[in-house]
């Protein structure tokens, strides 16, 4: 992983030195051993802050929207899943292709930082991470730890379909083979087996915990409305009050609003402070879109129309 970090830094440095970009958005070491944090580099000297490894879970693509009206160009470090966001943002005309430079990094999976933190001594510092195929070795100042991907990776990585970026101006390191760790929709299929009342009880329990912090919405790379319906004051469609009914309205509205555009990056799941399995809602929609329209994951190819933004004579017409 050190080698990849070096290559990312070199690429970033070159882009900044040659004035191809004014800013590089990438991953930097976070304040916890097993976390990175987004960094914004605007000078060639700053690139040493960039890093790479199994703790780069954030999807940085959303930040491109912040810079869409900035004067210069922006380079961004993306994983395979994040690269789908870049394509979606381009397709939604949120950003323009000539203003961004995509540094793609093939990704062998991302570990859940809390799970790693639970097993590493609190005062340990990170030395190096090594990808061993089915596991990562995390070398720290207080010893080495091996983390099985199956048990320690983010759920979303277990069903990764794009370990390699689908759009990139520069690719760092070798492309990785696509692995099928599990059936992509296994979790959703399990939920589908439940009866109506059981399903309702399941989601009621989840939604009742929601704090309405809107982290899932704000982190989402396809939530780009300038004024979100949940922030609107005149009229106030949904209040800030937390209760099951209004929380449910929020989650259902959010899920449907990104239907056909959600790139399944899983950031909503990762950021939820209450561990609500938000991604499952969108996965159900993904599954239905696949079953009904044979629709690929949004953003997985350039120029794909949103499944709900495209009409063909062959579309099923169950309701007519």
């Amino acid at each position: 992983m050190m080698n990849l970090t070096k290559q990312i830094r070199e690429q970033a440095k070159k882009l900044l030195e040659e004035k191809k970009v004014d800013l590089v958005i990438g991953f930097g070491q976070g304040t916890e051993l097993a976390r990175t944090t987004p960094v914004f580099i605007d000078s060639p000297e700053g690139v040493s802050a960039l890093t790479w490894g199994p703790f780069c879970a954030n999807n940085l693509a959303k930040y491109l929207v912040d810079y869409k009206n900035a004067p210069g160009n922006v380079a961004i470090v993306v994983k395979g899943c994040d690269s789908r966001s870049v394509i979606r943002l381009l397709d939604d005309n949120q950003i323009s292709r000539d203003k961004i430079v995509v540094i793609g990094v093939p990704c062998a999976g991302q570990l859940e930082w809390q799970k790693v933190a639970d097993e590493v001594k609190p005062d340990a510092t990170l030395k190096e991470t090594v990808d061993n195929g089915d596991s990562f070795v995390v070398k720290t100042s207080t010893g080495d730890h091996t983390f099985n991907k199956k048990d320690y990776m983010l759920h979303r990585c277990l069903v990764c379909e794009n370990p390699n970026p689908v759009i990139a101006d520069f690719t760092i390191g070798e492309e990785l083979p696509v692995k099928n760790y599990a059936e992509r929709f296994a979790e959703v299929e399990e939920l589908e087996q439940l009866g109506l009342e059981e399903k309702s009880a399941y989601w009621d329990k989840q939604f009742s915990r929601c704090l309405r912090c809107y982290a899932c919405r704000n982190v989402c790379s396809v939530c780009t409305c300038e004024l979100c319906v949940f922030d609107q004051m005149k009229p106030m469609w949904v209040s800030k009050r937390t209760n099951l009914s209004e929380n449910t309205v929020f989650h259902i509205t959010r899920a449907f609003h990104v239907a056909g555009r959600c790139v399944d990056c899983g950031e909503c799941d990762r950021v939820c402070p209450m561990d609500i399995p938000i991604r499952k809602l969108n996965q159900k929609i993904h599954k239905d879109l696949k079953d009904l329209f044979d629709s690929p994951t949004p953003g997985s190819k350039e120029g794909l129309l949103s499944a709900l933004g495209e009409f063909s004579l062959g579309d099923p017409e169950e309701f007519m």
């Binding site: 976070g30 304040t31 916890e32 051993l33 976390r35 990175t36 944090t37 987004p38 960094v39 914004f40 954030n58 959303k62 930040y63 912040d66 809390q114 933190a117 609190p122 005062d123 329990k205 915990r209 704090l211 309405r212 912090c213 809107y214 982290a215 919405r217 704000n218 982190v219 922030d231 004051m233 106030m236 209040s239 800030k240 009050r241 937390t242 209760n243 950031e267 990762r270 950021v271 402070p273 209450m274 561990d275």
Partner: protein
Amino acid sequence: MKAKIVNKGQLSGLLDKLAKDYDLVAPVKEETITLFKKISSAQDAFLDYTNSDVSPKGCFLPQSEKIFSYTYTGDSLEIVKPESAKKTVLFGARPCDIKAITTLDPVFEGEKFGDEFYSSKRENTVIIGLSCSKVLSTCFCYAFGGGPCDGTGSDLLFTEIGDKYYVEINTDKGQALVDANSQFFSSESTDQLAKDKEELAKKLAGEFVKKVDLTGVKELLDSDFELAYWDEDPYKKCIGCGTCTYVCPTCHCFDIFDFTTGDITGDRIRCWDSCMYPEYTLMAGGHNPRPTRKERIRNRFMHKLKYHLDRYNMVGCVGCGRCIRKCPVNIDITKIINDLKEVAQNA
């Protein structure tokens, strides 16, 4: 100081009794999340936790709360207030979270205006703290004068030592609860456990990983509102969600609005609000005094590190570390403090 002992075998009996006599609020585990809820029996309590995902501040400032109900026709108006708070025991709160409640007190029990909703809950609640047995990498209560075994603000403080709880009685309210439930409290000597507790406190105090140095930070913030630092990293990476404020035990901002289904009745609701949201300060005419994430981030940290101190002579942060753990982009208040300290040193 007065102290007692509760043998571990007696705890569930005590909690069951408290659940009968009071509304008993205790940490519970829901799937992966630890939060405070009303429980009806001891077996629902989950005490093997380090730091709950959501703080128990909701006991006194619930996330959503009815202030009154109204019936209004235009020509007539009737307001009905909710019943006052029930007798409650908050059991198992950590020292940082209890200290946080003491920082909320001066806000709600203000100089000129009180708050009947907060105060009636506060008066009717006995707070039983539970010392920490572990320090997380994100903990830094020591930096603000707290500690893993600090009893500040609690009526009783339980400290787990071997197969016993050492119980410090910190207030009359705590004493009354002990007296009323004396069958669960052993009368054996507490001398040894008092020493053990001190040992534990000392041991845990040495385990903090976050090094936080506040030297010069307040003075810097006092002297310069427009620090270049606020143009840097933190605000660029902030995604503007309300997570940090909602998991924070000292954040107290709220919104007030009416909830009605369109007929002549409705409820006036108060609910948590977040200074991270753009519409928080947005005025009806369209002007916003804190228009971007930069102003909002600055306001949050100024509130924690300066404003609360200025107003109440009390810190606005207790070092629970929740915002660090829960922030989607790893904005870390301890890093901000240390960065500011450096700015102050180089100024």
